[in-house]
C-alpha cells in the first residue's frame, strides 16, 4: 500500500480548475480505500458472519444443546413461518406501529425544531429540556412509562382519571398500541428535532429574506422554500429512525409484553420469542429476522431514491466527481 500512496503524491498536485477528472487510479487501489480497508474488514467480520449464519439457520433445524448443530431442512422453516397467520398479524401490527412512529416523530420533530428556531428567549433552555428523553435507555423509558401509567400509583394515570379517562391504558387492546407508540415518540422525537433544527438553521437567510420581500407568509415560506431545502436532512432523520424503529422492542417488553390480546406484539418481539423462549425454533426465528432485514433494506432504498438522489446529482455536477 505504501507504494500506492507514493504514487499518489507524485501524481496528485496541479489540479486544474476545469471539470476534467484528474488522472488518478480508480477503484480499490487508492489511498482512500486504504483508509477504509481496516474498518471495513472489521465491519465485515462482525456483520457478514452472522448474516451468513442467519441464512444457514433459516434453512436448517438448529439444535443448541451442547454445541450448535445445523441440520439442513430445506424450505421447511420458511413454509412454517409464512403459513402462520400469527406471523402476518404481527407484521401488520409492526407496520402500523412503525408508520405511526415515523410519521409522528418526523412531524413533531419538525414542529419542535420550528418552535425552537423561532424562540427568541429561552431557546437554549428549551433545547436542553427537549433533548432529555433521548438520553434514557429504552428499557428505562419503558419502566418509567409503566410507573407513570400504573393504575395504583401512576402520576399520568391519576391525571387521566381526573379528566374522566378511567380505563387502564395498558389493559385495553385499543389503547395499548397508541400508548406504546406515544412512549416511543416521547423518547425519540428529540433526536429528530435535533437533526431538523440543524437543517433549519442552515437555510440561508438570504433566501428567506427574498421570500419575505416577495410577501410570502410564514407557513408559505415554510412549505415552499424551507422544506425542499432540507431534503437531505430529512433523509438523515428518516434513515436514522427507521433503522431502529423496526427493531427496538424494549419499551413494549417492559410495559405490555406484547399484550393485551397480542395487540402490541410486533415482529421483533415475536422474533425474540421464537429465538429464546420457544423450543427449537431458532431456524424459524432466522426466517423472521431475514424478513425484517429485507424490509429495512427495501425501505432504505425507497428513502434514498426519494430524498437522496437529487442532492447527489447536484454534488456531482458542482464539485467534480465526488
Amino acid at each position: 500500500m505504501s507504494s500506492a500512496v507514493a504514487t499518489q503524491e507524485t501524481v496528485a498536485p496541479a489540479v486544474e480548475e476545469q471539470d476534467k477528472p484528474p488522472k488518478e487510479p480508480r477503484g480499490f487501489n487508492t489511498f482512500e480505500f486504504a483508509l477504509m480497508a481496516p474498518t471495513l474488514a472489521l465491519l465485515a467480520l462482525l456483520s457478514l458472519v452472522p448474516f451468513f449464519t442467519l441464512i444457514a439457520m433459516s434453512f436448517s433445524d438448529v439444535r443448541t444443546l451442547g454445541r450448535i448443530r445445523l441440520e439442513f431442512t430445506g424450505l421447511e422453516n420458511w413454509v412454517d413461518v409464512f403459513t402462520n397467520p400469527a406471523f402476518w398479524a404481527s407484521w401488520g401490527r409492526s407496520l402500523i406501529y412503525f408508520t405511526s412512529i415515523i410519521v409522528l416523530e418526523m412531524v413533531l420533530g419538525f414542529a419542535f425544531a420550528v418552535v425552537l428556531n423561532n424562540l427568541i428567549r429561552g431557546r437554549s433552555l428549551l433545547l436542553s429540556v427537549v433533548l432529555l428523553p433521548m438520553f434514557l435507555a429504552p428499557v428505562m423509558v419503558g419502566l418509567l412509562a409503566r410507573f407513570l401509567l400504573d393504575s395504583t400509583i401512576g402520576l399520568y394515570a391519576k391525571m387521566l382519571a381526573g379528566v374522566g379517562f378511567d380505563t387502564d391504558v395498558f389493559a385495553n387492546p385499543s389503547t395499548a398500541m397508541p400508548a406504546v407508540i406515544l412512549i416511543d415518540v416521547w423518547e425519540w422525537t428529540p433526536l429528530v428535532a435535533l437533526i431538523m433544527l440543524a437543517g433549519l438553521t442552515s437555510v440561508p437567510p438570504s433566501t428567506l429574506e427574498a421570500a419575505a420581500v416577495d410577501g410570502a407568509g410564514f407557513f408559505r415560506s415554510l412549505f415552499n422554500i424551507v422544506i425542499p431545502q432540507m431534503k437531505a436532512v430529512i433523509l438523515v432523520a428518516l434513515l436514522v429512525r427507521s433503522m431502529d424503529a423496526i427493531r427496538y422492542f424494549d419499551v413494549i417488553t417492559a410495559t405490555t409484553n406484547g399484550g393485551p390480546a397480542d395487540a402490541t406484539k410486533i415482529i421483533p418481539i415475536r422474533l425474540y420469542e421464537m429465538a429464546f423462549r420457544f423450543n427449537n425454533q431458532i431456524g424459524q426465528a432466522a426466517v423472521v429476522g431475514l424478513t425484517m432485514l429485507v424490509f429495512s433494506i427495501a425501505l432504505a432504498n425507497v428513502f434514498l431514491r426519494f430524498f437522496g438522489d437529487r442532492e447527489v446529482a447536484r454534488a456531482h455536477v458542482a464539485g467534480g466527481d465526488h
Partner: protein, 278 residues
C-alpha cells in the same frame, strides 16, 4: 428565523415552547422527585408532593447488595472506549469513502448502512458463538466490540456525510501547496469537521450507553452495564420504584452532562449544508 414575526406569532411560539418543554420534562422531573422519596411516599394511592427528601434510594443502589457502582464503571468504560474507536475508525473510513472514486461506491456505502439494520435477537445466537470461540464473552473488550457492531457503521456513515461538506477547494489548495493526502486529512479536513466529530461522538456514546440487548447477552457477571441493572430490579415480587427512579437518574445524568456540554456543537454539526445520505 423566518423573517420578522408578528407579536401573536411570538406569543404562540412561546406557548408552544412551554408545552413542548412540559411534555419532555414532566416524566423526568417526576422520576427525579420519586428517586428522592422515602418508600411510604411512593407506595400510596394518593400522589404525594410534600415529603422529606432522602438519599436512601441512591445509597441502596450503590451499596445495599446492588453493585450499581461497578455497573456504572463498566458502562463508562465500554461506552467511552467504543465511541472513541468508532470515531477514529469511522473518520478514517468516512474520509476515504468521501473521496473514493469507484463505481462500487454506492453499493459499499449502502452495505455499510445495512449492517446497522440487523435484527438483534436473530444475530445474537451466531454472535454469541463467535464471541465464545474467541473468548470474548463476559469481557470488556467483548462488549466494546459488540457496541462497535452498531456504532461503527453509524460513525462511518455520518462522518462520510460530514466530509462531503468540506469544500473541495480547501483540500485542493492544501494539496497544491505540497501536503500529502494524509496531512490534508489531518490538518485540513478534520478540523473543519470538528462539530461533525462531536455530533457523531455524542450520538455513538448515547447508543452505546443505552444498549441493553447486546450487553445482556454477551456480557456476564463481571461485565454488567447500567441498563442491566434496570432489568435486575424487576424482582419476582415487585419493582422497587424508588430504586428504579434513582437508577434512571444515574443512567441519564452522565449522558445529560455530556450532551448539554456540547449542544452547541451538536446543532452546528448537523447543519453543514446539505447532508446527503450517501
Amino acid at each position: 428565523m423566518l423573517g420578522r414575526l408578528k407579536p401573536w406569532q411570538r406569543v404562540l411560539f412561546l406557548v408552544l415552547g412551554i408545552l413542548i418543554g412540559l411534555w419532555s420534562a414532566i416524566p423526568i422531573a417526576w422520576m427525579l422527585i420519586t428517586s428522592l422519596k422515602p418508600q411510604e411516599a411512593i407506595r400510596t394511592s394518593d400522589l404525594v408532593f410534600s415529603f422529606t427528601p432522602t438519599l436512601e434510594n441512591y445509597r441502596n443502589l450503590f451499596f445495599g447488595g446492588n453493585r450499581a457502582g461497578s455497573f456504572l464503571v463498566n458502562s463508562l468504560l465500554v461506552s467511552i472506549i467504543s465511541t472513541f474507536i468508532a470515531l477514529a475508525l469511522g473518520s478514517l473510513a468516512g474520509y476515504g469513502m468521501a473521496h473514493w472514486r469507484s463505481r462500487h461506491k454506492k453499493d459499499v456505502s449502502f452495505w455499510i448502512l445495512s449492517t446497522r439494520m440487523a435484527p438483534i435477537a436473530a444475530v445474537i445466537v451466531p454472535l454469541f458463538v463467535m464471541f465464545r470461540i474467541a473468548g470474548l464473552v463476559n469481557t470488556i473488550p467483548g462488549l466494546i466490540l459488540a457496541c462497535l457492531t452498531f456504532n461503527l457503521p453509524f460513525a462511518i456513515w455520518l462522518m462520510n456525510a460530514f466530509f462531503h461538506q468540506v469544500p473541495r477547494s480547501i483540500e485542493e489548495a492544501a494539496l497544491v501547496d505540497g501536503c500529502s493526502k494524509m496531512r490534508a486529512f489531518w490538518n485540513v479536513a478534520l478540523p473543519v469537521t470538528r462539530p461533525g466529530l462531536i455530533t457523531t461522538a455524542v450520538l455513538c456514546l448515547v447508543f452505546a450507553w443505552n444498549d441493553y440487548a447486546f450487553a445482556s447477552s454477551l456480557g456476564g457477571p463481571q461485565t454488567s452495564t447500567l441498563p442491566m441493572a434496570a432489568g435486575a430490579l424487576v424482582t419476582q415480587s415487585g419493582i422497587d420504584w424508588g430504586l428504579l427512579c434513582a437508577l434512571g437518574i444515574v443512567i441519564a445524568l452522565p449522558m445529560l452532562i455530556a450532551g448539554l456540554a456540547v449542544r452547541r456543537h451538536l446543532v452546528t454539526g448537523l447543519s453543514l449544508g446539505a447532508v446527503t445520505g450517501e
